[in-house]
């Protein structure tokens, strides 16, 4: 597929491939998404805002330049921001593909990373020279201020220009807990939410700390997605119950929503509200308990996102849909086109 290389969240010519419940494939302009909702459907999106998770700096022990990409944290607690898992690159910037980025200098427990105004200590190297847990020095407010002044959104080599926070925050962005944007939600704006209400469908959110989508390193990518904390509001759990009662469909906007909802699902298909940590991978063997349909970006086979789509569709249909995406010139990656599997 063609890489979407311009940071426009809602390009006027965005496309949507729909696989309907009869397994027919339909191509429509993405703006028509709402027309495929039915009364009592529930659209659930991830309202995480995206952190400026890319921090450049220096490995104090060697004086070498590094880029730290924050990749995970233990909880969503606003004051619990001293500990993160992170992926570290050596010299260079986003113009170089992550696959080609050099390794960082040899990192060891106790090393210091000076990242602009922030100082971090390497707690542990997590079985790979790029992957570590780190600990920031300072109060939570000082860490937030340091991230705000020095951090940048994680960048992509396929983009024409560097991304600013306003490029990666969705319209519904709330708590800044995602490491990369929950980009399926780029489809949403306030006009679309009003249209969902006009169609007598409902809208709800969860907050999920969407992690890094790809590291460029096959060994690390096999570990993706990392454990991701999430929060499901009580009102969202109640909306799911109501949707079940009224025989509507639960439509997840993005793979992170599926991960959170299915992690919080009980055996009998109810949804627990509150905080949790999504750990498992979702794939063809997963029995979906809460989510009926997914609105997602376009994903290439072999990625964890593609694997998740296999929980919704048998392989032959998914392969046919992928073929159609290529044939019809769909764009992929964060600012690309979309797929709706009903």
């Amino acid at each position: 597929m063609i890489a979407a290389d311009v940071a426009v969240q809602r390009p006027p010519d965005a496309k949507l491939l729909i696989v309907d419940s009869q397994r027919h494939i339909i191509h429509v302009p993405r703006t028509a998404f709402v027309e495929f909702l039915r009364p009592n459907d529930l659209v659930i999106a991830n309202d995480a805002a995206t952190l400026p998770a890319s921090l450049t700096g220096v490995h104090e022990q060697t004086g070498k330049s590094i880029e730290v990409r924050l990749a995970g944290r233990p909880s969503l607690d606003p004051m619990d921001v001293s500990r993160f898992s992170a992926i570290v690159f050596g010299e260079g910037d986003f113009h170089i593909r992550t696959e080609d980025r050099p390794l960082p200098p040899l990192l060891q427990s106790g090393d210091t990373l000076v990242l602009g105004p922030l100082h971090a200590t390497v707690e542990k190297v997590l079985g790979h020279p790029r992957l570590l847990s780190l600990h920031f020095t300072g109060t939570a407010d000082e860490i937030w201020a340091g991230l705000a002044s020095h951090g940048h959104p994680i960048q992509y080599s396929h983009m024409q220009t560097s991304l600013e926070l306003w490029d990666v925050w969705t319209r519904i962005a709330g708590p800044p807990v995602a490491f990369e944007p929950p980009s399926a939600s780029f489809i949403l704006d306030w006009q679309v939410l009003a249209a969902i209400r006009e169609h007598k469908a409902r809208f709800a959110t969860i907050t999920h700390a969407a992690g890094i989508s790809s590291t460029g390193d096959d060994d690390l990518d096999r570990l993706l997605p990392f454990d991701e904390p999430y929060r499901i509001p009580e009102t969202t759990a109640r909306a799911v119950e109501l949707t079940r009662k009224l025989r509507g469909r639960v439509i997840a906007v993005g793979t992170t929503v599926v991960r959170a909802l299915e992690d919080a699902a009980t055996e009998d298909g109810h949804l627990r509200s509150g905080e949790g940590v999504a750990k498992g991978r979702i794939g063809p063997a997963t029995r979906l308990r809460v989510v009926d349909a997914i609105l997602s970006g376009t994903h290439e086979s072999g990625t964890s996102h593609y694997e998740l789509l296999r929980a919704f569709l048998e392989d032959s249909t998914l392969e046919e849909a992928t073929h159609e995406l290529i044939e019809h010139g769909y764009k992929t990656h964060e600012f690309g086109d979309s797929v709706l599997i009903l």
């Binding site: 309202d47 805002a49 400026p52 939410l193 809208f203």
Partner: protein, 232 residues
């Protein structure tokens, strides 16, 4: 007085005048407060004087400051229930006729009084609408002025910017009614603040409203606009 425990409030221009009075009143009533101001030393002083308040250094008139400010607000508070766009720019003093106002000065007044609140409310609308969906309620209070309604000679830059903000508040209020986010545009009246004395040198403070009184009145209005008081 109502206890605001658990209410998450952000205030711009929080180190002097009405903004400082709001910070003090909200902290004393249990709210979780983040405030924004340009000068680091004053932000740190207000944090020392009001333990628990989260101070954020930033300039709402600067486009590149808005998202870092918004991220710190929602990061430190874990969400947002109330945004008070209080930071205001009077323009050059002594006050002058509109035709004697430099375009750049007018632009700066609008950058602080119109584009700043616009950008910040836009960046925080996701957090505010989430609060509304969860039944906590959500309010944006934009500080208005009678200079935005009456044609006072010499108040052209400030008055026209406040008129623009007032009209934006009314439109926002209509457009976001479906999400349950309410917009208030309130005039605190003539207050004994540095800004008022800059505009009217020699004004008799005894004839002016105390900022603490205006803060008290604003919090009553916010309370009425919320569906119910929230507590964590």
């Amino acid at each position: 007085m109502t206890d605001f425990s658990g209410l998450r409030v952000a205030i711009t221009g929080g180190t002097s005048g009405l903004g400082l009075a709001l910070v003090r009143e909200l902290v004393s009533r249990g709210a979780r407060v983040a405030f924004v101001a340009r000068t680091r030393e004053r932000v740190e002083q207000v944090m020392r004087d009001n333990p628990g308040a989260h101070g954020i250094v930033g300039d709402v008139s600067a486009k590149h400051d808005i998202y870092p400010i918004a991220m710190q607000i929602t990061g430190e508070l874990g969400g947002l229930d109330v945004l008070i766009n209080n930071a205001s720019e009077l323009g050059p003093t002594p006050l002058r006729m509109l035709s004697d106002t430099e375009c750049e000065d007018l632009e700066h007044v609008f950058a602080t009084n119109v584009f700043g609140p616009f950008r910040l409310a836009k960046a925080l609308m996701g957090a505010l609408s989430a609060s509304a969906r969860e039944g906590r309620g959500a309010v944006v209070l934009n500080v208005f002025s009678d200079a935005g309604a009456s044609a006072y000679p010499g108040w052209g830059a400030y008055g026209s910017s406040k008129a623009a903000l007032h009209q934006m508040s009314r439109i926002w209020h209509e457009e976001h009614a479906g999400e349950g986010v309410r917009f208030l545009s309130l005039d605190p009246g003539d207050m004994d603040t540095p800004m008022y004395h800059a505009a009217i040198p020699g004004a008799d403070p005894s004839t002016l409203k105390r900022p603490a009184q205006a803060a008290h009145e604003f919090l009553e209005a916010i309370e009425q606009a919320l569906p119910q008081m929230v507590t964590d």
